[in-house]
């Protein structure tokens, strides 16, 4: 059993000044006004607006409660928390009564005891007395309260009408609902409404007939429930219970760590028994998720113990031969001697590495050090190349730093939210819920997306404006919005004059005012009526603060970097950078995209986004590493592969990355890999790229290692080892041993020492250490002498580059155009239950919800092709073809089709082209011209079991983005 339970103060915090600066969550600012009350004779001062229950808890007095918890608004239904207040009649509920100056509260008296016992007696008269065999035994608030009120008998007996025989709902793969154990406190319903914002649950019936219902289907799995786990966490009994706890019992140990799925970076308590993870519960103290979670982080971690894991190093001479298991020593010697041989034979630039945004900062740092200090070139790239490299380029140009400007918490202050090419409720669900809370509280919403994402219309939320633009026309649309703002003189002149480079601004004005950038000129290009563009411009420019949130729908385009600069221009134009509630905020796809980029994983940059040509920076590294560093940029991934095809690149170390599956133009990738003499793959599963590898080094899941991840808001958080590495070594140790075997001295003893080196060599990280992260929970970089506890909002006084820069963002249409043969534009995205190419989530029960990729097509396009909902269809592009079932829906506009890319057997990425962003070579995954036709063939569901192909290990790919 866990030794400590976190303290529940009963009702949420109230009465503190808003604001983010100068605090790291642990140091809240002053309360607006304090009120002093007496609780059982103890004086306590609390912020105005605090409940009597919370004041009592803060005074160290526990008032019994069932329906109250400090993550939810007070409800006042259980009548257990009654108190006596001097001068007030009756017995007010302490959760819904607000403190008043001088109030004298009595939390215990004989009359109160009698009342509470009476309430408990009624609860227990309709509750099974099977405590000893109940999964919540030892972790049940009902049990605790029975003890608290001293319940000794139930006078009513059990013969009367009751719910004890109610049927248990076991449909959800991760938790059960047992109505017999339910006390109808509504905590689950309120958690679903207030925290998650799905409104899936309701209380049906009145009085004795009251029942928790997951929507009209009466069953969790088929309901609107998104399985975020908020209700399970909120449930005071075992009515909602994790199946893992039912099977294994309560956990005995808890380790705080960081989720390895999306860029929200939720903090979790990994609760274990021995080295077995029983459950992951979200950390209430964390500033990235504030105690909330999604189905992936909360439940979908069983891939870590999947039988598909490879745990022994393997080597083969050629890719035609079968794998041979070898010892670590043999594998490392082989890798080292081969890299040395190739470098001697083909020259210094013939080898390189690709690192991963799935890995920790420490791992990514040591991989780039291996390349720069041991390989002796700059041929290091990372998978951020194919997702957010344009963010790095665009924001650096505009603001001077390759990172988002504001923390997630800042959304609470936004009065307007502009979502561009992102789908937060599916892709970044925990932040999506946060955003929905703000929208329900009244913030206005503009969505620019070819598809009508859930946010456009969802319970209690409706976007003021949806701009359903044609895929590939972001720059046209954003330029037109800027044009309209200037034309109607809605720009923030004072801000621009004090904060921005005026010469560049004037030049930009001249450019953006050109008629070709007007909403009228861009309407036919984008497919959005000029008047709608103008309305969006007015709304965005007239409500402050306005926050921009964007995703891969901006970056994965041939003008990805231009699109990012357009967003930066709009935010500067309206004075929305450097303030709370505003900013330009990328929603990063993977857990550590930000971190991987921060620590120097791009071929042109050392850590902290400093160009390799910068002599001073290079000298620092040269002194620390005792080698000379190449002052010229190295190869990007695609350049390595191209160089390989002409025999100039021969050896690649691939860390946590599957180029064949996740990079564009698979045949180009395969040709490149086939031409190499050494391909080393370091990963937790064999994947598509492993077919072309000569060495496989087994890696660790996030549960098996120490390190840090940096989320989309620059927040660095600790990843802690929860179970020992299945393969016996953490990944940084393996990389260190390769470096040593190649003759370079490297002697770290723990991941924290690698972070210490990053801090010594990177001015924006100089205040970061594992000790500080453990003490504060997290810090947002820049974290240094000037900001010892980190920087929530960037560019406050001035931009990192000095003056904000308006770049000229001419619209250049993509080469990918519709034609008679390919009349539709395909764009891609994610669903909630799966993550990228599904390597992890397909190996979990998340496949229960989604077993295949689906194509969305508009009714008019479907009708023209004789396609009906659920038909199997073939998609053809200039690059390839794929088969998938379709959904006929008005979510997509006529002319646009949409598909997910989680199932490699559906081959969505085979369709996409080799087009890429002009500045960063980020592939244009979001625009592909296709034709769709019906396939007359029965769909064979049995081909896929739990989302996996029957081909087994060798065929299962690893994700990348």
């Amino acid at each position: 059993m866990l030794m400590e339970k976190s303290k529940d103060l009963g009702t949420p915090r109230r009465g503190w000044e808003r604001g983010l600066e100068g605090r790291n969550g642990r140091h809240p600012e002053k309360p607006v006004r304090e009120v002093t009350v007496s609780i059982d004779g103890k004086e306590v001062s609390v912020p105005e607006g605090t409940s009597v229950m919370r004041a009592a808890a803060l005074a160290g007095v526990g008032v019994p409660k069932l329906c109250a918890t400090d993550t939810l608004e007070p409800f006042g239904s259980c009548r257990l928390c009654l108190v006596e207040i001097e001068g007030k009649r009756g017995f007010p509920a302490s959760c819904t009564t607000i403190v008043e100056p001088g109030m004298k509260v009595k939390t215990f008296s004989e009359r109160l005891a009698g009342l509470r016992r009476g309430v408990m007696e009624l609860y227990i008269s309709d509750h099974p007395l099977d405590c000893l065999t109940c999964p919540a035994d030892g972790d049940c608030e009902l049990q605790d309260m029975a003890g608290d009120v001293g319940l000794r008998e139930v006078r009513y007996g059990y013969a009367g009408k009751n719910h004890l025989e109610a049927e248990k709902d076991t449909s959800n793969p991760y938790f059960t609902f047992d109505p017999a154990k339910c006390i109808v406190c509504s905590r689950c319903v309120r958690a679903c409404d207030e925290i998650q914002g799905t409104f899936a649950l309701t209380v049906e019936g009145r009085g004795f007939d009251s029942l928790i219902q997951p929507g009209p289907t009466g069953e969790f799995l088929s309901s609107e429930c998104v399985s975020c786990g908020a209700c399970v966490l909120a449930c005071p009994t075992s009515a909602l219970m994790e199946k893992a706890v039912i099977d294994l019992g309560l956990p005995s140990e808890s380790t705080d760590t960081t989720c390895a799925y999306c860029g929200v970076g939720c903090s979790f308590h990994a609760e274990t028994k021995g080295t077995t993870v029983v459950r992951m519960t979200p950390n209430k103290e964390s500033l990235s998720n504030h105690g909330h979670s999604c189905v992936k982080g909360r439940f979908a971690w069983s891939y870590a113990s999947s039988r598909d894991r490879v745990t022994k190093p393997m080597v083969r001479r050629s890719i035609e031969e079968p794998w041979q298991e070898v010892s670590w020593q043999e594998a490392i010697q082989h890798v080292a001697s081969e890299f040395l041989r190739i470098r001697d034979q083909y020259g210094r630039y013939s080898i390189g590495a690709v690192s991963s945004s799935r890995c920790t900062n420490e791992e990514d740092y040591i991989v780039q050090k291996l390349v720069r200090a041991v390989f002796r070139n700059n041929n290091i790239d990372t998978c951020a190349r194919v997702c957010h490299s344009p963010t790095g380029y665009g924001l650096k140009k505009a603001f001077g730093e390759s990172a988002g400007t504001n923390p997630f918490d800042s959304v609470d202050q936004a009065n307007l939210i502009f979502v561009v090419g992102a789908n937060p409720t599916d892709g970044h669900p925990v932040f999506g819920s946060r955003m929905k809370q703000r929208l329900r509280a009244g913030a206005k919403l503009i969505v620019a997306d070819p598809r009508r994402i859930d946010l456009v219309r969802t319970p209690h939320i409706e976007a003021q404006i949806h701009l359903p633009l044609r895929p590939g026309t972001n720059v046209a649309l954003l330029n037109a919005i800027a044009h309209a703002i200037l034309e109607e003189k809605l720009e923030d002149r004072a801000y621009i004059e004090s904060r921005c480079d005026l010469a560049a601004f004037e030049q930009w004005c001249e450019f953006i005012r050109r008629p070709e950038n007007s909403p009228e000129a861009m309407a036919p290009v984008t497919g959005v009526p000029a008047e709608t563009i103008r309305r969006a411009a007015r709304l965005y420019a007239t409500i402050k603060p306005a926050a921009i949130y964007y995703g891969l729908g901006v970056t994965e385009h041939s003008q990805g970097s231009t699109g990012v600069m357009c967003l930066a221009n709009l935010a500067m134009l309206t004075g929305n950078v450097g303030i709370e509630g505003g900013g330009v905020n990328p929603l990063r796809g993977q857990n550590n995209v930000q971190g991987a980029c921060d620590v120097g994983s791009f071929p042109h940059e050392l850590s902290g986004y400093r160009h390799v040509s910068d002599e001073k920076t290079r000298r620092n590294f040269e002194q620390a590493w005792n080698v000379e560093i190449d002052p010229e940029p190295g190869f990007r991934i695609t350049n390595m592969l191209s160089a390989a095809t002409i025999g100039e690149f021969k050896g690649l170390y691939m860390h946590g990355e599957d180029l064949v599956q996740s990079d564009p133009d698979a045949s180009h990738v395969i040709e490149g890999l086939r031409n190499m003499e050494l391909v080393v793959l370091h990963d937790i599963f064999l994947n598509e790229s492993s077919r072309y590898a000569h060495v496989f080094l087994p890696g660790c899941s996030f549960l098996e290692k120490d390190g840090t991840f940096t989320n989309a808001e620059r927040r660095i958080q600790l990843v802690r080892q929860v179970m020992p590495p299945l393969c016996g070594k953490q990944e940084w140790e393996v990389i260190q041993e390769i470096a040593q075997a190649m003759g370079y001295p490297m002697h770290y003893h723990h991941a924290s020492e690698i972070m210490d080196e990053i801090a010594r060599l990177t001015p924006t990280f100089s205040g970061v250490s594992f000790e500080k992260l453990a003490r504060l929970g997290s810090v947002q970089w820049p974290c240094n002498e000037r900001a010892p506890e980190g920087t929530p909002v960037m560019h406050r006084e001035q931009f990192v580059r000095g003056k904000g820069f308006f770049a000229l963002t001419g619209y250049v249409p993509t080469k990918e155009k519709v034609s008679e043969r390919f009349p539709l534009l395909l764009t891609t995205g994610r669903i909630l239950f799966h993550y990228n190419v599904g390597t992890q989530t397909r190996r979990t029960p998340n496949s229960t919800w989604s077993k295949e990729d689906l194509l969305e097509i508009h009714p008019s396009d479907a009708e023209e092709r004789g396609i009906r909902d659920g038909d199997k269809t073939e998609l053809r592009s200039r690059k390839g073809s794929a088969i998938m079932r379709c959904v006929v829906t008005e979510r997509v506009a006529p002319g646009t089709v949409y598909a997910t890319f989680h199932f490699p057997e559906n081959r969505t990425n085979v369709l996409t082209t080799e087009n890429s962003d002009w500045a960063t070579n980020c592939p244009e995954y979001k625009v592909t011209a296709v034709q769709v036709s019906r396939v007359f063939e029965p769909v064979r569901h049995e081909e896929r079991v739990n989302g996996k192909t029957a081909k087994g290990r060798g065929a299962v790919p690893v994700a990348g983005e």
Binding site: Y349, N378, N379, Q507, E510, F511, S558, Q559, T562, P603, H604, H611, S613, E632, P633, G634, F635, T638, N639, S642, A643, T645, I646, E648, L808, T809, G810, V812, S916, W918, A919, T920, N921
Partner: protein, 74 residues
Amino acid sequence: MIEDLVQMANQIGDFFRSYPSQAEAAAGIADHLRRFWSPSMREKLIDYAQRDGRDLSEPVRAALALLQAPAERS
């Protein structure tokens, strides 16, 4: 490989088309190539420009002329 390099360079050239003067565009392109392309890629492109160069856009050709001049780092 040279086709890829030409296409990439022309795409960079397209971005700089909205610049007010050809000289600024050429300088911008040259700077981009210097900062983000490996020397071997730049050499291949320059070599192509000297040998043939017909598929390169005008601003890119101007930028390559700048690159051949003694390197100026920005």
